[in-house]
Symmetry: C2
Subunit: 274 residues, 2 copies
């Protein structure tokens, strides 16, 4: 439904992005937002219980990369989200960046606010750039996996899937994918939602989403699991806490330069012009 001529890009980061070295992902966010001199960045700390530390981390990181206009936006209580200050900053920004923490907290405090509608409207029709790392990545799609066990075999009922920010349809995103052993919980969520596409983002690895395509950036890989090709699932025949069977899923691992078409569900090879 979205008009990709006016819709802004999304930069969805698997957590722990480089803040000291080449900093390719943070640099990309700045460039997308207008460049160091012109970018106006709002740092959304709503996901974390330690908003001052999160803000400090990104004010420093973006500041060192030459960003001149940057403000933290703290939403600690539900009523904060629709304050004039928050609305003004979301009107002002060219780029909005969500830090890590808890995706459940992020969406609980912000997802239902008029400020979130404002942000989505500016993203859809004014090219606003939205970035998110860790919990800020998990929360970006229509639906999101909320906290669940890691390093575990896929089981029915292992994860809860809740509404996210609604920026990407039909995908479930895990951050810290390789580093925190989250294959089992992504598969558990896909067994319950076999129409979704599973995306596992490693740390310091990002998706740059434009319209219905993304390209991978950073040092790790994006694991793509497509359950639409499944030949068998035991999900409807077992009780909660029972181990899942899933047969015939399609699996891709995509590093920097590779991409994916979310509509066609097809990987994209690196563009020679990149």
């Amino acid at each position: 439904m979205s008009d990709t001529a006016t819709q802004g890009p999304l930069l969805i980061i698997g957590g722990n992005e480089d803040k000291e070295g080449q900093r390719a992902i943070l640099r990309a966010f700045i460039e997308l937002s207008g460049g160091g001199a012109d970018a106006r960045i709002a740092i959304m700390t709503v996901a974390t219980r330690h908003p001052d530390a999160a803000a400090e981390r990104y004010l420093t990181a973006f500041g060192r990369l030459g960003v001149q206009h940057i403000y933290p936006v703290h939403i600690i209580h539900p009523e904060d989200a629709d304050s004039t200050g928050v609305h003004n900053l979301l009107e002002w920004a060219t780029g909005v960046f969500f830090t890590g923490g808890s995706q459940y907290r992020l969406v609980s405090l912000f997802g239902g606010a008029r400020a979130c509608d404002l942000m989505r409207r500016r993203w859809r029709s004014e090219g606003l750039v939205i970035g998110g790392t860790s919990a800020g990545a998990a929360a970006a799609p229509q639906r999101m996996i909320v906290q669940a066990e890691t390093h575990i075999s896929p089981h029915r009922g292992l994860v809860e899937v809740e509404d996210g920010l609604g920026l990407i349809p039909d995908v479930l995103i895990e951050s810290h994918f390789a580093q925190r052993g989250r294959l089992g919980r992504l598969l558990s969520a896909l067994a319950e939602h076999p129409e979704m596409l599973g995306l596992g983002l490693d740390e310091n690895t990002a998706l740059l989403v434009r319209g219905d395509e993304f390209r991978v950036m950073g040092s790790g890989a994006v694991t793509v699991i497509d359950p639409r090709t499944a030949t068998h699932s035991n999900y409807t025949t077992i009780a909660d806490h029972q181990p899942l069977a899933l047969c015939g899923l399609t699996f891709h691992t995509l590093p920097a330069g590779y991409g994916f078409n979310l509509t066609a569900r097809m990987p994209l090879l690196p563009m020679s012009s990149q």
Copy 2:
């Protein structure tokens, strides 16, 4: 080439099998080996630098399950493997069980010995049962992944693949798969050996292999990754330490009761008679 009428079964365990509760996997090994009163079990501690502790653990576990005839077999120096004592125990046993430790150590000390030929011959033609857990599972196939980093994105050259004990062709086995975040290293090995099938065994989860089929036992899942369907790999075009791209792999997660035909590369649904 093997005659499955005389060839023994293999019980390949992803590590940390239950030794206190239902103990379904250890019970299965005993039953396969002739039952508590008749089984003659040799505990092969060759993989570990702490053979006395490993032997004690399994002497106790099998003893509590009623096994009456059980001996530890320690191979600490290369010359130990072909001692008369080791040969006699491998002639005597109805079941040979390899403990955990290092699969590299296991194969270095035992894989080239005449004692290993003796074991394989009795397995092929006399129905000897062979079990292995953790490193003892990884070492079972023709080829094995030796120690490598975990919790990491797939990279070229991340793992070394060496000769194993030669009991299963064309598969690579990872133990502790979910618990130790080993997806990246299994994918790294498969990128280098795309003719192989990747099997990731979770803890307290086992493959019962008979001929070219296996069935899953235990509480976790076996992850099966088949690279033969791959539509793209960047393996031959990148340098060591570069991140891998693999597209179009086939992926299954199989819990207890499910199985797999290794020749047809097809999952097997639970048998109603089980």
